[in-house]
Amino acid sequence: MMLLLPLLIPIVGAAVLLGFGANGLARRLAVLVGGVEIVAILRMVLAVYSSGPLQFGRYLRVDGLSAFFLLNVALISSLALAYSLDYLRHTEGERFSSARWFYALLFFFMFTMVGVCLSSNLGLLWIMMEATTLASALLVGFYNTRGAVEAGWKYLIVCTVGIAFALFGTIVLYLAAIKSGLPPNVALDWTALMEAAPRLGSGTALLKLAFVFVVVGYGTKVGFVPMHSWLPDAHAEAPSPISALLSGVLLNCALYTLLRYDAVISRATGTNFSHTLLLVFGVLSLVTAGLLIVVQRDLKRLLAYSSIEHMGIVAIGVGLGGGLGLYGALLHTFNHSLGKTLLFFVAGNVRQNFGTLRMDRIGGLARAMPKTALALSLGSLAIVGLPPFSLFVSEFAILSEAFSQSRVLVATLFLATLSVVFGGMLHHLFGMFFRESKQPPVAPYMALSEAVPIALAAAGLVWFGVHIPAGFKSLIDGAMAVL
């Protein structure tokens, strides 16, 4: 029952919003439903933390790994929900673009992401991943401008095709499992697959084929280069709270599915095949996105490319494996969520005040809006991986793993790209901060409901950079033990 609640609450909430909620009431209703939902998720995480995995029926299960990602879902969603309260005040009540629809779709989106973390069956996992695309496509197209409609359509088509390949990969894995003697009704069950993994080895060719399709499929949603084309458009055109959710939660959920498959395949084949594939995609994404960051003109597109870059770093950590690599990767998903959420929130504030996100049209930020400028510089310094922010810790862990395995090429590319990104970000920031502005904002504005989430995210970045709490550390250890 504890597992069912976090799935039921958002669905009921969305239904109530669409059925009864007037647009005026929508915000208050959203806070209520969102709050209850977040408490329900946290309660579940806490239960797993104190007493181990929970199972409900044949299809739902939480273990250490899902608990870690559920914590991420809960934290970032609560920040985004709080931030959206004031952010949405200018939306007029058109259909699909009203506050009512915004929150209803947001709850559907949360439902699907919680569903991804709770699925113990790989088929159900696929259904939930596809549902994340469907739930968020209308949110990406929320503003209904030309750019938003185009980005939404592209997102829908590219990700649906990508995910279709993942379904094919899942079917191939199912075939391999059945051929190794697993009964059809458990052949897609993750725990059963993990237990039977040594026996699956007979169909190595099939397993490798399955993983190639899965990595291309779910990799599309993670944003791996070269399947990333939807990502910058969707992140840039979506409303800022949604951009934060896409970057901070959805990408992590997609990566989480890859972790599940990677664990089964690498255990069954007894080779590094799946790790190597992730490593290759990781390096490719890191380097390509890192170079593209330098030439960006739009602030949110720049942040989107930075997300691709960081997903590349996480994939490198997973691909390297080892204790430190995996630890760094998991920690990095969490740190990146915090940092990117902060930055997308600040970008939303910049857009509200300047009316644009074109970086060459933004200037004098340091003098006109000191609070926003401070948050933006904190976030940027964190995201490029400077100490004392937490991304430094996780990137350092992954890098030391690369050195200890003497993967010189990976480590060199990693360091070189990070320096390029550092230079690029600094260049863009200096421009926005100190350039003479053509039209400075009349009265800089930042609502309390925007400032608090931004401050919380910044505090988190510093806190986790200086000291990782013991409870959080053991949560990561629990997640690593599952793999």
Partner: protein, 220 residues
């Protein structure tokens, strides 16, 4: 020999050929509505194949799946898409970036390629080679339709053909996935078509055309 058994045997052995035929016709289609009807026809062939499998495997689940495929892919989705074409008043003729002749040529190449691709796997397992090749051919053609066609609706048809291919692959290799999963996939498909329909209206309203190649504002 029993008449039903004869029909089942013929269905299983010849459906791959008919599916390949729809692939070639789809590649040559010049109207959106033709494409939709061809998709419905293709789904009808797959329905027959699911029914034949259900009969030989004596599986009640497969009968349910057959009913769902028929209701959804032969009736509901094609009629919804035809309604959409009517409502959007999109010019019916499609201008693919390929001529019909070239399209058929590419499709034929893809069928050839599919046979080559499934060779090693078909030899390994007891899976009928024709059906597996047809599945791969459908997946490839679906992807080809999506990149070569300009109209939003035709991209949806391409996606549906691709999905048909994946469904057929599951059917040919493992007699389909567990029923609960199959229902979930169908539900996703239905919601996907619904949301794509919403977007088709929005593209028309904001751009005054349905030509997705002209959606070119966002780059890089």
């Amino acid at each position: 020999m029993d008449l039903v058994q004869l029909a089942v045997g013929k269905t299983l052995s010849s459906s791959a050929v008919f599916l390949m035929l729809t692939v070639l016709l789809l590649a040559a289609a010049r109207r959106v509505s033709t494409g939709i009807i061809l998709f419905a026809l293709q789904s009808a062939i797959i329905t027959a194949q699911v029914m034949a499998t259900a009969y030989t495997e004596k599986s009640a689940e497969a009968w349910v799946v057959a009913a769902m495929v028929f209701a959804l892919k032969v009736v509901a989705i094609p009629s919804a898409l035809l309604w959409l074409v009517e409502r959007l008043k999109a010019p019916r003729a499609i201008q693919p970036s390929f001529s019909s002749a070239k399209g058929v040529f590419v499709a034929a190449l893809m069928i050839f390629l599919s046979y080559a691709a499934v060779q090693p796997y078909a030899r390994q397992s007891t899976v009928p080679e024709d059906n597996l090749a047809a599945a791969v051919a459908l997946i490839l053609t679906g992807a080809f339709l999506m990149v070569s066609q300009r109209k939003a609706i035709m991209q949806i048809v391409g996606l549906l053909v691709l999905e048909n291919g994946i469904f057929l692959a599951a059917l040919a290799t493992t007699f389909g996935m567990p029923l609960v999963i199959e229902i979930g996939v169908f539900f996703d498909l239905l919601m996907g078509i619904l949301i794509m329909g919403v977007f088709a209206f929005r593209i028309r309203d904001t751009f005054e055309h349905l030509d997705v190649t002209k959606l070119r504002r966002l780059r890089g």
